[in-house]
Amino acid sequence: MSKRPPKWADRFLEWFCSEEQIEILQGDLYELYEWRIAEKGIWRAKLCYIKDVLDMLRPFALKKKSPRKINHIAMLKSYLKISLRNLIKHKVHTGINVAGLVLGITCGLVLFMLVKYELSFNNYHENGDQIYRISSATTVEGSTSFVGGVPIPMLDAAKEEIVGLENATLLWSPGSDDFKIDRANAEQAIFKNGIKVAYTDASFFEVFTWPWSEGNPKESLSQPNELVISESLADRFFLGSSAMGQVIYYGDTPMTIVGIVDDAPENSDLPFDAFVSIASMANNPLTQKWTITSESVALFVQAAKGVSREQLAVQMPKLKERMPEKLRKYFNENAGFSMDHVLEPLSEYHFDTRFENFSGRVASRGTLNTYAVVGLLLIITACVNFVNMTLAIASKRTKEVGVRKVLGSSRGQLVLRFILETFAVTFLSIVLSVVLAGVVMRLWVNDFMEVNILMNPFQDTALLSVGLGLLIIITLLAGLVPAFTSARIASIRALRGHLAPGGKWSTFRRGLVVFQLLAAQVLIFGTIVVIRQIDFATSSDLGFEKEFIINVGLPDTEERTRQLLKSELSGAVGVESFTFSQNPPISASERGGPVNIKSKTGEMVQLNLQIRDTDDQYQETYQLKMIAGEWLADKKVADRYVVNETFARKIGFKKPKEALGFNIQIWGIAGPIVGIVEDFYAKSIHHEIGPMIFWNDPGHYRSLGLKLNATNVSRAVEDIERVWEGVYPDQAMNFYFLDDQIQNLYAGEMRMSKIMSVFATITILVGCLGLYGMVLFMASQKSKEVSVRKVLGASAKHIIQSFSLEFIKLTVLAFIIAAPVGYYFMNNWLRDFAFGVDIGPGVFMIVIGASILITILTTGYQSFKVATSNPIDSLRNE
């Protein structure tokens, strides 16, 4: 048994007791302890000792805070001054630092706002979580096609069949007509395009949140010829005077205005300006037809409170049963066909790319995710850059830390100073980024993305919290590490000029640079694949002519006007040939559907058929390639067919040519196959090429296609316009060039490729900044080493090599990770296309080649400077 007093009690005493007192107090305690051992034995003595130590916890004995008072204000002033001087002294570093951070955060914020905007769609309806859309899915031979609409009679079926509904409403927007207003003492005012009109009834305003400024939503839109318009439309029509009760013409029908509603918000997928009572359409046969399913109709149901999605979804098959006997029989007899109905919550309405919506803006979740990932990558890269550079600068300032320590700074103060400095730089950068993002948004992004986003951090709490979050995270990341590593270093080492963060942190910094390179490489990879795919889509041989072809939409399908156009156009200059048809070869809109056809062997096969109604000039105008037979003649009825290769194969002819003369029957119309054309892309390359037939059906000729002479396009267009005015004096001519139209099919991808290239460039730039900063740091850190090497005989070439090699190693390391990541993501993306490009070794070569080149370019100058510097300069002072 040791005779010494309990060690821990002693240590405790030393911990809390002030230095002035400890000597005396401990002495007294020891003396008492000895005396007690003699008097009462060791156990009692020890116990008493502990008791006495605890009893010492009195104010007089405790450690005092520094007895001197420090003038904190003066200290802070000094910090500020030194910080500023430092920022100015390391101009290049500071510049790179701030530029990188601002660049990254600006882009990150823009992407954040974009994603937030898309996510905000339709989120303002009070009953939003109870509203569902019912849409249609038609399945033929296992492949399903989706249409956002339903037959109009489905509204009543849904109301009667589905249990658990609070309400149901139907919108029908078959395209808009002109509005005409009789003005007193003036000509009739006509308002043409751009007004979005929907037929509906009062239930629409019960289901959706849509404030009325005038009129009674409960009693409106029940009678025929009632009209509700938005406030801005009312202003446009009546120039400020009251619109309520006025009668205006929609097309040629007089309508009474029974209500004024607020304008649809920016983030609405139902951006209608006017609502006409659906009762006005009571005589339209479409309202009774079960066979027409169109995107222009939307059926929304509102579930009663507490009724779940599943409870409604299981009732969807009931809707089929309401179809007329004949249709049901048709579906029952053809097991391969089915018509189902899909229930989808309003929250998915904006994001389901299988369907269209009324805003014409469907944001795929995949694209939004891509934006989010790219934005996150950018912000992370920028932060990494910032942390890296701050670390590099901080390690150059160890001497300052040493001096401050010698002069009495505590570690806490030093840490505080580093953090304050980082905070100030970060704060300024973020403010700058928000401003810059606002400008970029207003100048470019809003136009480019067809959005209208304003950046106001004072009203937008999400934006504000993102800004604050970034501020805190970046400050902590970039401030804490250098703060603690630098502040911890012993003053003597610091004064000698040892660089603070040793091996451990330089590995850390290397890791950061590798990450940056990795992000840049993944983005380069993605951009190359997207650009290649789009290039492939727009420039590949589609199987028909697309240059110098314009398409004109026809307002009617009458034989008389067609003949008139024909005779007028025959003489037009620059028109090589022209054709009347329903659609050009490639078209987003479809005609056709499931049919049963007797095949070569006599069996019935089911085909999801596409139909093109064309006249005799179609093949010549669009330069379709015939494999066998001849094109259709100019006939008024469909009695013979031209088919594509796929069709011939599907009905059992291994060699498509042999199908010539085979008799087929489609929708009751029988006739021989007189010609076979080579397959061509009838939709975007997202889709496979399907079976297709061509026949004469003048009743569907809605499109006039003209092949122009390449040398005289503008003259030809003028001529066509003149002809048009002769035939349709009061109709505007809508025309487009086919190749533009084809580009439009890829609008989403084009947009994505542009965004990807912009952001990839920025990520590369930020990555370069990071590299440059690192090489700057290395150059100054290794200047002595390089000088010694030079003195010992190393050539400049050796030194540049060893420098570059270091960075090329990092680049290759990043590539090893980036290649599979990029491949995985882009392969996924390409799955959306039926015809996708291969990601060949070429792409990988470009990525690694480009990144090595960028690395060498970025680091080259500094390495060169170090390698050619005079060794004396850095060796002179020790």
Binding site: Q26, Y30, E34, K51, A61
Partner: protein, 111 residues
């Protein structure tokens, strides 16, 4: 400086320092008080009082030699200052004065 009020325990400590005559350090004072008053002040309480007395200027201290039993730590010896002496005298006088003012009668009555 704190006020010059002299607490009861402080007075005893001060008197004990006087009694010990230049040999007054922590443990010695404690033992002396224990011997004479039958109270057992803890060493913490004693040092607390000593520190207060020093603050008030009634005692002063000097550091003295270390002994083995103290683990090589020095002692701090306390002596009464002039101000301390004055205060002690004053307190004593005040007490006597007040004591003398009590009529004998009351004493008898109390007994």
């Amino acid at each position: 400086m704190k006020g010059t009020y002299l607490g009861e325990f402080e007075e005893i400590v001060l008197l004990t320092i006087g009694v010990l005559q230049g040999d007054a350090y922590g443990v010695a004072i404690k033992l002396e008080i224990e011997k004479r008053t039958e109270r057992k002040p803890s060493i913490g309480a004693l040092h607390s009082a000593l520190s207060r007395l020093e603050d008030k200027g009634f005692i002063e201290s000097r550091e003295g030699g270390a002994t083995k039993s103290r683990g090589g730590r020095r002692k701090r010896y306390y002596t009464i200052t002039a101000a301390g002496k004055r205060t002690l005298v004053k307190a004593n006088e005040l007490r006597n004065e007040l004591f003398n003012l009590i009529p004998n009668l009351s004493f008898y009555g109390l007994n």
